[in-house]
């Protein structure tokens, strides 16, 4: 019965969506298309085109996606970092507090699956390499694909590997918490510097813009992305760790 109703709802939804989507043109070059609309007197320049053309002048970062994420829509990124922070905090509230209640049966679980020596040695060697790779990804976020979110996730997965191969691997919570807080505070402080100095929150061209397509370019964008990388890395590690602690 439930299945029939669900199928009917989905059929209606499919029909409705089909009617809309069939007017869409996949891969159509809308950025450079001529508009034949005379109803509008104001500019109709697509925002994407504006970003592509003015990015070099305004942000000097080779990766336009990075300059949108960090600079043009930096406020969204601040919110996004907050969402991760919220998730880590909420997890802490829900998971870690009632530990003593019921870990009777789960105690045996972790000892039974101790990984072999090869796995342990390999992950000990790989850990710094993955860590450095993550750092590379977020330091070069304004030049190559990648950035704070990707690099932070890679660092978190390096820790995940250590958690998997050493069942008693512990991280120092207060250090991670401090990194998390400090990077968040630094992000907002960078924003506030712009507000105090120029009356503009999150103004990122405060320092010299450097030479296009080199590591030292794009003003504060790489610095903000490094901060985001630290924050995302520590937050996701905290998330993974609070899942593991509950074993």
């Amino acid at each position: 019965m439930k299945k029939i109703i669900a199928t009917l709802i989905l059929l209606v939804f499919t029909f409705y969506t089909y009617n809309t989507i069939k007017g869409f043109r996949f891969g159509h070059d809308f950025l450079n298309a001529k508009t034949n609309n005379k109803k509008i007197s104001q500019k109709i320049e697509p925002a994407g085109k504006h970003y592509l053309e003015n990015n070099k002048l305004e942000n000097n970062a080779s990766n336009v996606v990075t300059s949108i994420v960090v600079s043009y829509r930096g406020f969204d990124t601040l919110g996004e970092v907050t969402v991760l922070f919220l998730a880590a905090t909420g997890l802490g509230v829900i998971l870690t507090l009632t530990k003593k209640e019921d870990d009777d049966e789960n105690e045996n679980d972790s000892s039974e699956g101790e990984p072999s020596l090869i796995v342990k040695t390999a992950s000990r060697i790989l850990f710094p390499l993955i860590f450095i790779f993550g750092a590379y990804v977020f330091i070069h976020g304004h030049l190559t694909p990648g950035g704070g979110f990707q690099g932070g996730t890679i660092i978190a997965s390096a820790y995940l590997m250590m958690f998997l191969s050493y069942s008693n691997f512990k991280i120092n919570h207060s250090i991670f918490k401090s990194i998390e807080s400090m990077s968040g505070l630094t992000f907002i402080s960078i924003g506030l510097v712009g507000l105090i100095g120029f009356g503009i929150f999150l103004k990122l061209n405060l320092i010299p813009m450097g030479v296009f397509n080199t590591l030292f370019s794009a003003g504060l964008i790489p610095i903000v992305y490094i901060i985001v990388g630290f924050k995302v890395g520590s937050e996701l590690t905290a998330v993974v760790d609070s899942y593991r602690e509950n074993w």
Partner: protein, 81 residues
């Protein structure tokens, strides 16, 4: 031409995998297959000229999400009754 066929093939494969994900009674199978769907999506993002998104999806969707799902299943129960 080959690329187009490859993408179409990948999308069909993902849809079939999605149906399997929903149909499996063993939750562990569903989770692993849904991890493969994320991996496929990451490839598609690469074909759509979105390397940033591809990297994120590969790291988050395939790696972390699958891990926390697996932990949850081990903490709870494996079979869907």
């Amino acid at each position: 031409m080959v690329l187009m066929l490859l993408q179409i093939f990948l999308l069909i494969l993902m849809l079939i995998a999605a149906i399997f994900t929903v149909a499996y009674k063993d939750l562990m199978n569903s989770v692993i297959v849904s991890g493969f769907i994320s991996l496929g999506a990451s490839l598609l993002f690469y074909f759509l000229q979105a390397p940033d998104v591809a990297l994120t999806e590969a790291a988050i969707g395939t790696g972390l999400t699958t891990y926390i799902f697996v932990v949850t299943i081990r903490k709870t129960e494996r079979m869907e009754k």
